[in-house]
Symmetry: C2
Subunit: 267 residues, 2 copies
């Protein structure tokens, strides 16, 4: 039925970055074919776009500069990422975190009081997910009368240099299990996170399409706030994602470029 | 009610080792006060005893020698531990594991074919629970059409040198989550594992008491096969264990010595 196709009447777009705009890898990774031009065409068409990423391995500024080095001209203010979101929560709730995050990302926590910590923020730590560091986080959580764990996303894995690598999610699960707690997830697929990006777009949810490579965190998360979700076959995408037990995408595209073609030809 | 006291009519005993007989720590750890004598008294009384441990950080022989060095005279055949149990399963099901275990424990897998692995065995790895090794295990599981993960226990943490350290359980959970699978637990609290020790004791379950410091893996596991479970206040024990959400011990003892006093005075 033509009325049900996902690309009709799209008035706003949310884009995942890693695996959709570029593929991480050695020597800086590489741009996903057609994505540079696709982002440019969306801008020229004047369709509102925001970027939703769970990237926490560096500061937001470093991330934008990295995207610039690929040729993407993306404003800092258009990117929604977990660190600013968790900083707002920490301030609001007067919490002092132990930052179990990549040393490269620490600058984005400026102004956050980390003395005498009463909660933990865990982000993508890569090789810093050592037994020693995991025990440090675990022991702190065990020592707190009211242990609070914020997880910057709950992704299972991402693709780097053609290989799947563990993301923050499995380590969040390890700490949850060890301490009998449930983490508060900040970033995709949190409803609050998608809602904040949606509010900034100022477009009704049912006219917004989220395009990503993660069936649960991109597609499932977007659908939970009423947006459509389109899964691309780049990044961490695997064919079995089309048969996920709980999440079914509204559409599938080979890559971002193909999805943008469909959207713009109907805009 | 006198009829309900746990120490009446005990005809067989299962003993946890770590945290009950000795406390691990630097310079070889230390014997739990009174435990040497308690084990000796049980032997003299002629009451059947078996030892149930999830220890996988060394070979069974090294472990017995370590116990000997503390002064415990325990036969190899009286110890039930996860590695021999998983080896029997691997052979029976014709599986070839990738051994994600401590290098010190490898000798106990002698005769197990590890070429072209089609499953994973994860045990307590301590500092070998690195990001690199976790990814190796994850990538293998992701590559298998029918991923199988055996976990040698699912303990959350243990106490070493007075500090709580992460056990294999949280890492099992991390791999389960990353790969959307459920591990097969070999060792405590698996019913098969307790049943094997019970069969060897050759005493009806309701006349056997398990004495341990882990409310879930010792007490809960023993109760699941019909034994009584007594929690000691040594090892990893924490006061909140008495208020566990799902497991309630049949009795509490300050330490093994006190529990043995009660048992023998009614034997």
């Amino acid at each position: 039925m033509a009325e049900n196709v996902w690309w009709r009447d799209v008035k706003g777009i949310l884009l995942d970055i890693t695996g959709v705009l570029y593929e991480p890898g050695e020597n800086g990774g590489s741009v996903v074919q057609g994505s540079l031009n696709a982002v440019k065409r969306l801008k020229e068409a004047g369709i509102p776009v925001r970027f939703c990423t769970n990237e926490t391995s560096c500061t937001k500024k470093q991330f934008v500069n990295q995207l610039k080095s690929y040729g993407f001209d993306i404003e800092l203010s258009k990117i929604f990422s977990p660190i600013p979101a968790v900083c707002a929560i920490l301030k609001k709730r007067n919490l002092r975190p132990f930052l179990f995050v990549s040393p490269n990302a620490l600058d984005d926590f400026e102004g956050i009081d980390t003395n005498d910590p009463n909660c933990i923020v865990v982000g993508d730590c890569n090789h810093d997910f050592s037994y020693k560091n995991m025990n440090k986080a675990f022991q702190l959580l065990k020592s707190l009368p009211n242990p609070i764990l914020f997880s910057l996303g709950r992704g299972k894995y991402y693709q780097d240099n053609g290989k799947l690598l563990l993301d923050v999610g499995p380590y969040m699960k390890a700490l949850e299990y060890a301490c009998d707690i449930t983490a508060e997830v900040v970033g995709k697929p949190s409803t609050d996170f998608f809602q904040a990006a949606l509010n900034d777009l100022n477009v009704p949810a049912n006219k917004v399409v989220m395009i990503g490579d993660d069936i649960v965190n991109d597609i499932g998360g977007a659908q939970a706030v009423g947006m459509k979700g389109v899964l691309v076959s780049t990044g961490k995408y695997r064919p079995e994602d089309k048969y996920h037990s709980t999440v079914k995408a509204d559409g599938y595209s080979t890559n971002l470029s193909e999805a943008v073609d469909l959207i713009l030809s109907n805009y």
